[in-house]
């Protein structure tokens, strides 16, 4: 189990296999929350500068084992947790995470590491206020991935597991294992189900309604860059101003 958080902020997480549509949805949610005058911080899986060169080396040279892959991603997470996520949550910010510890619980176990072990690695992280799990049939996810991208990458396809010599076949087998792990986590961590087959707009409306309910009666850190008159201002402008400020 993850421990309960003791902070003013809100942690909202999206999870799901590649091609489930979660990144599109969380990006729209991010922009909407900003337009609502909220203080929001967005973070992505495996994006810490600290381990970037090691990840690149390991991938290029195919040096990873399931254990070292798992530990390096935990290092990446820990760096983002200590330096960004936790301080932001303590400050009263809404932290939106595109993938969280559940990704490790699903993928690393699909790669063959022990379920309890990987959970203990992440025991310093907190249980999110809301975890939206994007459910999508494997066929649709595969179609989205193979249609949109030139090539599925080696580790993404789980080629290191030797499930199949064919990348697409390997990808399917690997993703199915990941789905099985996610399904087990629905009751374990109280994941909220999102139907990833719905049209983008419909799904976004549902997502906003769920988030609105979760944030009801809660006041986070005020955003000094928030638009004064929300409704009268074009949303895109508001987003750009804050994004620029965020990076500075």
């Amino acid at each position: 189990m993850l421990r309960p958080g003791s902070y003013k902020g809100k942690l909202i997480v999206v999870e799901g296999i590649d091609g489930s549509g979660k990144s599109t949805q969380v990006d729209l949610l991010y922009k909407w929350l900003l337009s609502q005058g909220k203080s929001v911080y967005f973070t992505e899986w495996n994006s810490s500068e600290l381990v970037k060169s090691t990840t690149r080396l390991g991938k290029q040279e195919k040096m990873f084992t399931p254990t070292t892959f798992s530990l390096l991603q935990a290092t990446d997470f820990s760096d983002r947790w200590e330096n960004y996520m936790l301080p932001m949550l303590r400050a009263g910010v809404i932290v939106l995470a595109d993938r969280y510890a559940f990704t490790a619980f699903a993928r690393d176990v699909a790669r063959g590491v022990d379920r309890e072990w990987v959970r203990s690695l992440y025991s310093f992280a907190t249980q999110p206020d809301l975890t939206l799990y994007f459910q999508v049939p494997l066929d649709i996810a595969v179609e989205r991935i193979t249609g949109a991208r030139a090539k599925i990458k080696y580790y993404e396809a789980g080629m290191d597991l030797g499930l199949s010599d064919n990348k697409v076949t390997s990808f399917r087998l690997f993703q199915q294992r990941i789905i099985n792990e996610y399904e087990n986590m629905i009751p374990e961590f109280g994941l909220t189900l999102m139907d990833g087959t719905l049209p983008v707009l419909d799904l976004q409306k549902r997502m906003r309604a769920i988030v609105k309910k979760a944030l009801h009666g809660w006041d986070g850190l005020p955003n000094p860059l928030a638009p004064v008159r929300r409704s009268a201002k074009p949303q895109v402008t508001a987003v750009k101003v804050v994004e620029g400020g965020d990076k500075a």
Binding site: E49, L50, V51, S53, T54, L57, G58, M63, F64, T65, P66, T67, T68, L71, L72, A74, T75, S78, D79, E82, N83, R111, G112, V113, D114, E116, W117, S120, L121, S123, F124
Partner: protein, 231 residues
């Protein structure tokens, strides 16, 4: 051959029932004389006809460059550094130590994860969490813990390589100067090792004696292991 044992789940995707090699670990604080002893043991074992592989806390191929880079300037939190070191240790265990054991080598390891854990706990890591992280680690056939008190360590440092920043724990500033910081830091490490000695069945070797006498003591223990396990 004895069945391979792990502290936790090990590597479930890499089933391994038994290996012909033996893992012998030398542990202890800085300046206790480990490296010298490892060298002497290696010569002795090779003369006796054993194939020996020595591995230490040198960085592995995967994380070596990244760890060096990370320690320069980046705002590394203690837990993050623990995990980065654990990644490096797992890389060396899976890619160097296990293959050597499978090939029937006597692996002499100059330090093991115990040292990393002592370092981490002194820096504030949760001991239970650290122990869980290393659930993938192989249980050595024998762990020889070279123990010397701080005054002995100091005389070795003064007449050897001199005080340095890391060995004095100056990154956590145990005191405002190298000497005092060294004393505080090494005492804390010894405390951690002493605790682990009982927990992990270390054979404690009094390392305040002469190099040769310590070596005799180590050999005696290794011979006993070989008799016991019929190597």
């Amino acid at each position: 051959m004895k069945e391979v044992q792990y502290y936790g789940a090990g590597f479930p995707y890499r089933p391994l029932n038994e290996v012909p090699g033996k893992l012998i670990v030398l542990e202890g604080t800085d300046a206790v004389g480990r490296s010298t002893q490892v060298q002497m043991l290696r010569h002795w074992l090779e003369e006796e006809g054993y194939a020996v592989s020595d591995t230490g806390l040198r960085r592995g191929q995967l994380c070596g460059p990244g760890l060096d880079e990370a320690k320069q300037g980046h705002t590394l939190g203690p837990r993050t550094l623990s995990l980065f070191y654990a990644t490096d240790f797992a890389d060396r265990l899976e890619n160097q130590i296990l293959p050597a054991l499978k090939a029937g080598f006597i692996v002499l390891s100059d330090r093991y994860f115990y040292s990393i854990m002592a370092r981490d706990v002194v820096r504030g890591a949760d001991p239970t969490w650290s122990r869980n992280v290393y659930g993938f680690a192989l249980v050595p056939n024998l762990t020889l813990y070279l123990r010397a008190d701080v005054p002995t360590l100091i005389s070795r440092i003064v007449h050897g390589r001199g005080f340095n920043y890391w060995e004095a724990g100056m990154d956590i500033r145990c005191a405002d100067n190298l000497y005092d910081s060294f004393c505080v830091y090494q005492s804390k490490l010894i405390e951690q090792f002493d605790r682990m000695a009982a927990e992990y069945n270390f054979v404690t070797i009094d390392a305040t004696h002469s190099v040769q006498s310590v070596n005799d003591d180590l050999r005696r223990n290794i011979r006993a292991l070989f008799v016991q396990e019929k190597v």
